[in-house]
């Protein structure tokens, strides 16, 4: 049992194995995610009933909520990947942490933008210092910090470790930040105009949301795999297997050109 685990661990640390397995995984994630997204979005946009308070603008929920959820859990994933890298010295783990940062930041931006757009018809203004928007903004700042540290440190190994440490410290702080922002918001909000949904969403509104959330997660995996594979190729560009891979591609494309 222990030796098998150990072998799996070594395999997971091997870039070649990661490259091969991630190619396969990402195909599956792409297929499943696309089906989920397509059904979820079409259902949410065209078939779900309008909200009795917000009308049709509530349909933004099907992109806003998945983006928010995902960008938050992506930060935790980044911190966990960094922790694994720091403690068990697993190089692939650092690669995963590194590629999550820009994706998570892009999702946080999407969440902020869609939140602002949703706010316009709901609150009558583009931006309010609502607890959720504010803590998402701070999360975006946390992502900026991690990205900045990758950019600032030239030595790869040092940058990976420093960013992992920062991500871990940040993720410890996330609950504190969230709590304080929520508390601050309830203190300062003069009139409570929150986006409180009805306690129970109608299933025909709720199911497409679940579909898009899972769809986003699948696509997120595809993005992580794609970027991580790029990192692997770049890092291993002098090894035999990468060269063989590139040559095989070259060969295939030449044959394809002849035919």
């Amino acid at each position: 049992m222990w030796t098998r685990l150990k072998r799996l661990y070594h395999k997971m640390g091997s870039p070649k194995w990661f490259y091969q397995i991630s190619t396969l995984c990402s195909k599956w994630c792409m297929a499943v995610g696309s089906v989920l997204m397509l059904t979820g979005v079409v259902w949410g946009l065209a078939f779900a009933p309008a909200d009795y308070l917000q009308g049709n603008s509530f349909r933004i929920i099907y992109v806003h909520v998945p983006a928010s959820l995902l960008s938050q859990s992506a930060y935790i994933m980044m911190a966990v990947a960094g922790l694994v890298g720091l403690v068990w010295k697993m190089k692939m783990s650092f690669v995963v942490a590194k590629v999550i940062a820009p994706i998570g930041a892009s999702l946080a931006i999407l969440s902020l933008l869609t939140g602002a757009i949703w706010g316009k018809p709901t609150w009558g203004t583009w931006w309010v210092w609502d607890a959720r928007l504010t803590s998402m903004l701070i999360l975006l700042f946390l992502y900026f910090g991690v990205i900045a540290i990758y950019n600032a440190i030239e030595n790869d190994e040092m940058a990976n470790k420093a960013a992992a440490l920062l991500a871990i410290v940040g993720s410890i702080n996330i609950p504190v930040i969230k709590y304080s922002v929520e508390w601050w918001n309830t203190l300062h909000q003069p009139a409570t105009i929150t986006l409180s949904k009805k306690p129970t969403m109608a299933p025909e509104m709720f199911i497409p949301l679940v579909l898009t959330i899972f769809g986003f997660y699948c696509w997120f995996a595809v993005w992580v795999f794609a970027r991580a594979r790029n990192e692997v190729l770049l890092k291993e560009r002098r090894t035999k297997w990468v060269r063989a891979l590139v040559q095989a591609r070259q060969h295939k494309s030449q044959i394809g050109g002849d035919a």
């Binding site: 070594h10 640390g13 190089k91 190994e157 470790k161």
Partner: protein
Amino acid sequence: MSRQNFHNLDASPNANGQLPMLSARGLLCERDERVLFCQLDFDLFAGDIVRIAGPNGAGKSSLMRILLGLSAGFEGQLFWHGQPMAEQIHDFRSQLLYLGHQLGVKGSLSAEENLAWFCPNARPDEIYAALQKVGLKGYEDLLTHALSAGQQRRVALARLFLADKPLWILDEPFTAIDKEGVSELEQVVIKHAQGGGLVILTTHHDLRVPVKTLMLGGQESEMPLC
């Protein structure tokens, strides 16, 4: 994979029947995707004076930082008194005196104050005696940025007389020291080794001291006794 598997050290004792103080097995160091050295094995015994030599860029300071435990980018194992270094790190550090390329001497403190924090257990009269030995008598109360480069280095060198640590790791200790000072320092190093200490150093000076050389930068590393 840079995961360390801890083996037990299989080293043979030297002629005096001692076990090695500091050993390395299969050290590999990479910098910017260039292998500086690999499969580096050595056993260093109490009483040795070891000079790490090699051309520029051969990894002399990298090796030193690895030995000190300040560098993480290496593979292989280090052993302190036959035990894996990771388990002995406290013992190793409490027996280590390191003089770096940068001295750690604060310009806005006097020579005496600088030494007082390096060696907190030393009494003031011991500090004065050590400063006298490195030829800084009368400079004890002067702020060190008023001293010359050589004198500042002597302040750092005074630590050799104060702390009773068996392992000395000295990075270019003779820089900016005059001829007389160099030969005095050589005597100090010899005396320390004879007293059962281990000295590891890098230098561009030709030492008039019996040293072992740890050659880096060749295809294989060799350790002839000069």
